[in-house]
């Protein structure tokens, strides 16, 4: 596994995303209120570009007519067939046992360490004053 610098902190706003290609893999990096998640941009259902889908909340209900709306913006809906995935776990809401989208480890690293370290910053120069989002692929 190699570690890739994909963005400077601040480049992806909360609720935003950035699509990158790392080691030939298309990956979406999402910012959920300051926490970052990296998902393979391929729906495990039929291969749709999942990370280009709509972000929604999680809707559940305990009885007909009651709507419980939670976790705004934390579910990702595939643009092809509307399957919902939990960005935090990669699990499909309708088929959590068998269907899961690949998640990659994400860390935030100070530029000082990255400038010295063995990491790869493919698309931009790393400055020591900044913090960066690093995805391990």
């Amino acid at each position: 596994m190699a570690r890739h610098v994909v963005a400077a902190v601040g480049e992806i706003p909360p609720g935003g995303r950035k699509l990158v290609t790392l080691n030939g893999r298309d990956i979406g990096v999402f910012n959920l209120g300051g926490e970052y998640f990296a998902l393979l941009n391929r729906c495990p259902h039929q291969g749709g570009a999942l990370c280009q889908g709509t972000l929604t909340g999680l809707v559940t209900s305990t009885t007909p007519g009651e709507f419980t709306y939670a976790r705004a913006g934390e579910m990702l809906k595939c643009p092809w067939h509307g399957w919902e995935y939990d960005i935090r776990t990669g699990q499909s809401w309708c088929d959590p046992e068998d269907t899961k989208v690949r998640l990659y480890p994400v860390t935030v690293e100070p530029g000082e360490r990255l400038a010295k370290g063995p990491y790869v910053a493919e698309t931009f120069t790393v400055s020591v004053e900044q913090a960066y989002i690093v995805v391990e692929v």
């Binding site: 929604t56 809707v59 559940t60 209900s61 009885t63 007909p64 067939h81 399957w83």
Partner: protein, 356 residues
């Protein structure tokens, strides 16, 4: 001719009401006079024209009167003929189609009194569905309450095509009463003609009406599931009677696929519709859709994905097959006993508890 599974439980048998006059002893003086003075008769549903061949097998037809109206013939040809341990009577008469809800409610009560006195009292093997008038759901629930004291009433009878889709909240008092008394809801083929019998409008021919019934059953299942009836009443069982069942696999696939994409619209449907169907819905055997290759029938049953959902039925005196084997060609031998005995017993707790 092969013999059927001895001790089979027939989940769809049709004693026929000879005519409205047969209900007079069971009606109060007001309705007795109304029926007599106004000459009210012939409330048979258009879905079941009494003289068409399918409505009465030739060797089961009485010399006079409607097929299914003669108790002795029913006992000889159905109860004894099939070696039945028990049979559930589903009387079809136009109660559900009458516009006057007060009259419909009175007719429903009379139908049940008639059923108890003229059929159930005459043979211990007979059970019945409670006829209700869904035009007045509160009165229908009260009728279920009234019949609950008689353990021979094991199910509540509705029609596949009524005034509104069956999942609608207006019908929930019926389901609440049914669950309270552990009666499944039996949804029988038939239309009250409130709406066209196909989604495209009125068909021209009886044949279309008959075949298109499968659409009506599908629409009712969709509505029951997505209005949240099974979420609201987790113990409710629905038996589709004369619906056929080889359409069920592709219907399940289509319902599941769409649910996955748009389920946020109905979040109380918290599992795939096919899972709800396997858990809550049962289908009677006859009329069995008949694939040209009998092997395809076994394949369709396998695709439904549950051995629990089919219930044995002869549909007596309707003409769905010849001879005394109600199982269609290609029906898996290993499933026969389960479908004929185990599944009916599991579906109808009131029947199970009263079998000697």
């Amino acid at each position: 001719m092969q013999g059927v599974t001895p001790g089979g439980i027939d989940c769809d048998l049709h004693p026929a009401l000879p005519g409205t006059a047969a209900l007079l002893p069971y009606l109060d003086p007001y309705w007795r006079e109304q029926i007599t003075v106004r000459g009210i008769d012939g409330l048979d549903l258009a879905s079941f024209p009494p003289k068409i061949p399918a409505n009465g097998r030739a060797d089961w037809r009485p010399q006079h009167g409607k097929p299914g109206a003669d108790f002795d013939l029913l006992r000889r040809d159905a109860l004894d003929g099939f070696g039945l341990r028990a049979a559930i009577c589903n009387p079809l008469y136009g109660v559900q189609a009458v516009y006057n809800r007060h009259f419909a409610t009175a007719l429903a009560t009379a139908m049940n009194d008639w059923m108890a006195a003229e059929w159930l009292d005459r043979d211990p093997r007979l059970r019945a569905s409670v006829v209700i008038a869904p035009q007045d759901p509160a009165a229908a629930a009260a009728e279920i309450e009234r019949r609950a004291a008689d353990p021979r009433f094991v199910q509540v009878l509705l029609l596949a095509m009524g005034e509104a889709p069956l999942g609608r909240q207006q019908y929930w008092p019926i389901y609440e009463a049914a669950v309270r008394h552990r009666m499944p809801i039996g949804v029988h083929a038939g239309s009250t003609a409130r709406h066209a019998t196909t989604g495209n409008g009125w068909p021209s021919y009886y044949l279309e009406d008959y075949v298109a019934h499968a659409q009506a059953f599908q629409a009712q299942l969709l509505n029951l599931i997505h209005e949240g009836v099974f979420a609201k009443f987790p113990d409710l069982r629905v038996v589709l009677i004369e619906s056929g069942f080889t359409w069920v696999p592709n219907f399940m696939w289509r319902a599941n696929k769409t649910w996955r994409g748009v389920r946020a619209e109905v979040p109380w449907v918290d599992r795939p519709p096919a899972d709800l169907i396997r858990e809550h819905v049962r289908f009677t055997l006859q009329p069995a859709d008949a694939p040209p290759d009998p092997a395809d029938l076994a394949r369709a049953i396998e695709q439904i994905g549950s051995d629990d959902v089919l219930l044995f039925s002869t549909d007596y005196p309707h003409w769905q097959f010849d001879g005394t084997d109600a199982f269609p060609a290609g029906f898996p031998a290993a499933l026969r006993h389960k479908v004929a005995v185990d599944n009916p017993l599991a579906t109808y707790p009131r029947l199970r508890e009263t079998l000697s």
